[in-house]
């Protein structure tokens, strides 16, 4: 059992800080997603664990051991990358055996462990094939088998599904979840820019932006109670509206809204976050009146864009019988418990 710890790890390339004093702990057996847009530092963090980038300062610990100065080949890490990186001149079984040979596993043990890893990923029948004879999804399974064959304490997954098409991707997500149930002792660091992957797979999500850790918590925490505007808009969809905090609520565009202001001081400015699918059509508590600027039909839902006092509000509504017309006056409402107040200043802290 080994977890990962980043101890104020900073990385810079040519004077540009690409990872700014990251503090993060991945518990043994935990799936931690590093979620963020490109250039947010998430891949750098993963590469610092693998040993391909050297931190400017700080320490990386694996299983409690400081590995900051250790070369990659001494870290015992399984790694799967976006483009699979299978060795094109080796058969599937040779690819999977590579790590075992490199780590000088007893020769007699290798075939069984290769077979085991291939079975686990459902690729047992393809052992004799070359990578170029496999589809993208199959190559990805082999890459995972290759990483698992060395029985790593830590598995690093760098955008492993982004080269697959949407359908394969959801299949592989299920597959990865199953693998993790079968190998509960492996800690997984999963780098992705896709919130669905992070929400589906991760025990906890670390949200990264501009080289910094913005937020970290369980998917539910981040989704229901994001702490920053960035998290709110990056994890799921969000309407972000400027409000002034009042006693027992907030004021938006001159109208009082009922909600829990938490610890925000009355009179201070804050951002109201409410998810588009938690908005209802028609009168109710916390009504927002405006005109329809855009209507999109998305099969099971309608997405309305409503201009409310110069702010565009998104609402996802179950498919409407009568499609509203542009320019119609509508009223949206939300329950007090569905809204979150983000106090200003947190977002860039």
């Amino acid at each position: 059992m080994s977890g990962i710890r980043f101890d104020s790890v900073s990385v810079a390339y040519n004077g540009t800080t690409v990872l700014d004093s990251l503090d993060l702990t991945v518990e043994p057996g935990e799936v931690m997603a590093l979620l963020g847009p490109s250039g947010s530092g998430k891949t750098t963090a993963l590469r610092a664990v693998a040993g391909f980038v050297r931190p400017l300062s700080g320490r990386v610990l694996i299983g409690g051991r400081d590995v900051t100065a250790l070369p990659p080949h001494k870290r015992g890490i399984g790694m799967v990358v976006q483009q699979y990186a299978l060795f094109p001149h080796m058969r599937v079984e040779e690819n999977v055996a590579f790590g075992l040979r490199a780590q000088k596993a007893p020769r007699a043990e290798i075939p069984a462990r290769v077979a085991e890893a291939l079975e686990m990923t459902g690729m047992g029948a393809y052992a004799k094939r070359y990578p170029r004879e496999l589809s993208g999804g199959q190559q990805q399974r082999v890459a995972i088998a290759r990483a698992l064959a060395i029985r790593p304490g830590v598995l690093l997954l760098d955008e492993p599904l982004s080269a697959l098409d949407a359908q394969l991707r959801s299949g592989m997500l299920t597959e990865l979840a199953r693998l993790h149930r079968e190998l509960p002792e492996v800690s997984i660091l999963y780098v992705t820019h896709d919130q669905v992957e992070a929400l589906t797979l991760a025990d906890r999500i670390a949200v990264m932006d501009r080289a910094r850790l913005q937020d970290c918590g369980t998917p539910q925490q981040l989704y229901r109670a994001p702490r920053t505007e960035f998290t709110a808009s990056f994890v799921g969809n969000a309407n972000l509206l400027p409000v002034t905090v009042a006693d027992g609520g907030a004021v938006f565009a001159g109208r009082p809204l009922a909600l829990d202001p938490g610890r925000a001081a009355p009179g201070s400015t804050a951002t109201l976050c409410v998810r588009p699918h938690l908005l209802g059509l028609g009168e109710g508590p916390n009504a927002l009146r405006g005109t329809i600027a855009e209507v999109q039909w998305r099969g099971s839902t309608h997405r309305l864009y409503v201009d409310v006092d110069g702010h565009r509000v998104k609402a996802d509504l179950p498919e409407l019988r009568e499609t509203p017309a542009l320019g119609d006056e509508v009223t949206l409402h939300f329950e007090p418990r569905d809204a979150v107040l983000l106090s200003a200043g947190v977002s860039h802290a």
């Binding site: 693998a50 040993g51 391909f52 070369p71 990659p72 080949h73 001494k74 870290r75 015992g76 890490i77 399984g78 790694m79 799967v80 990358v81 976006q82 483009q83 990186a85 299978l86 060795f87 094109p88 001149h89 080796m90 590579f98 790590g99 490199a102 780590q103 890459a143 290759r146 990483a147 060395i150 690093l156």
Partner: protein, 321 residues
């Protein structure tokens, strides 16, 4: 303004002339041919046009035949017809019987094989460092290698005369250091001097295809391999080397052929006891005016190098180079 006219050509091809096939505009993303398989031939249609296309091949082939194939044929013919009469194989018999020919053949082959081996080893090492242990200026070094290729080979021998010559740099440093009258470096006029010069000059020919092959290699493979616990030596042996074998084979066989045919380096060495086949041809033809013998040696030289070059083409085809 080549720029502007070029743009116009790709963006607004001329208005449809009388021969226009009823406006079937092909719209394909650049890089993804719209009709991949049928691409080259589809345009030109069936047999009659195919024949007309084949006719276009004739002029350059005719020129080549006149200035290259016909002279080569004459060389072969002359090798069988000694000037002062005698049987068809007389010239061959006397050349093969001569010790100088057999020695030249031996020297040529071992020099070429040795130089090729040296070039492969040195080129692989240097290219490996440039590509995978990059340092500031590595790009400039790679460009320097390209420039190096455009210089004539005899420059290297000329330089070696100053470096390792009897009164050159190396011996000068040695005598200064140890206070002796003469330095130990006097291999320049032996085959070893030629070997050193050939390795120096031809190594870039190995490095260029290798650097190209290395740049194609997915570096994620190296990282994954290291992550799986492989040390650099194992990564080089099991990942980089197998994937660059085609480039090594192609570069190596090219260098082998070029070494077999090298003349400038040997000529500039000026050593009487280093004679290769090209030197022998030059000596027989120009210095001794014995054209029949020169042609015999030339035929042997052609047989060896063309045979090897065929091998290079086969290897290169398989390597996709």
């Amino acid at each position: 303004m080549p720029d502007a006219s070029g743009r116009a050509a790709t963006q607004n091809p001329a208005p449809a002339g009388p021969s226009a096939p009823v406006g079937v505009a092909v719209v394909g993303r650049a890089g993804v041919p719209a009709v991949a398989g049928a691409a080259p031939r589809g345009l030109w249609g069936a047999a009659p046009q195919g024949v007309r296309r084949a006719l276009w091949v004739l002029p350059p082939v005719a020129v080549l035949a006149l200035v290259f194939l016909y002279p080569l044929a004459l060389v072969v013919q002359q090798s069988f017809t000694p000037e002062n009469g005698g049987g068809a194989f007389d010239a061959y018999a006397s050349v093969f019987a001569s010790a100088s020919f057999r020695e030249a053949l031996g020297t040529t082959v071992w020099l070429a094989v040795g130089a090729t081996a040296g070039c492969l080893l040195l080129g692989f090492t240097l290219a490996l460092i440039i590509a995978f242990v990059p340092f500031p200026g590595a790009k400039a070094v790679a460009r320097f290698i390209d420039v190096f290729l455009s210089f004539p080979s005899f420059l290297i021998t000329l330089a070696l005369l100053f470096i390792y010559g009897t009164v050159g740099m190396a011996n000068g440093v040695w005598t200064d250091l140890f206070g002796v009258a003469e330095g130990p470096f006097r291999f320049l006029t032996t085959p070893w001097g030629v070997l050193l010069a050939e390795i120096t000059y031809f190594t870039p020919f190995v490095m260029r295809p290798l650097l190209a092959a290395f740049s194609q290699l997915d570096t994620a493979q190296l990282e994954v391999a290291a992550g799986l616990g492989a040390r650099p030596a194992r990564i080089v042996r099991q990942v980089i080397l197998p994937e660059s074998l085609p480039a090594l084979a192609a570069g190596g066989s090219l260098v082998l052929v070029m070494c077999l045919n090298e003349f400038g380096i040997v000529l500039f060495t000026g050593a009487k006891d280093v004679t290769t086949l090209p030197m022998l041809i030059y000596g027989k033809a120009i210095l001794e005016s014995d054209y029949a013998a020169a042609c015999v040696v030339a035929v042997v030289n052609i047989a060896i190098s063309v045979g090897l070059f065929g091998l290079y083409r086969v290897v290169g085809k398989r390597a996709g180079a």
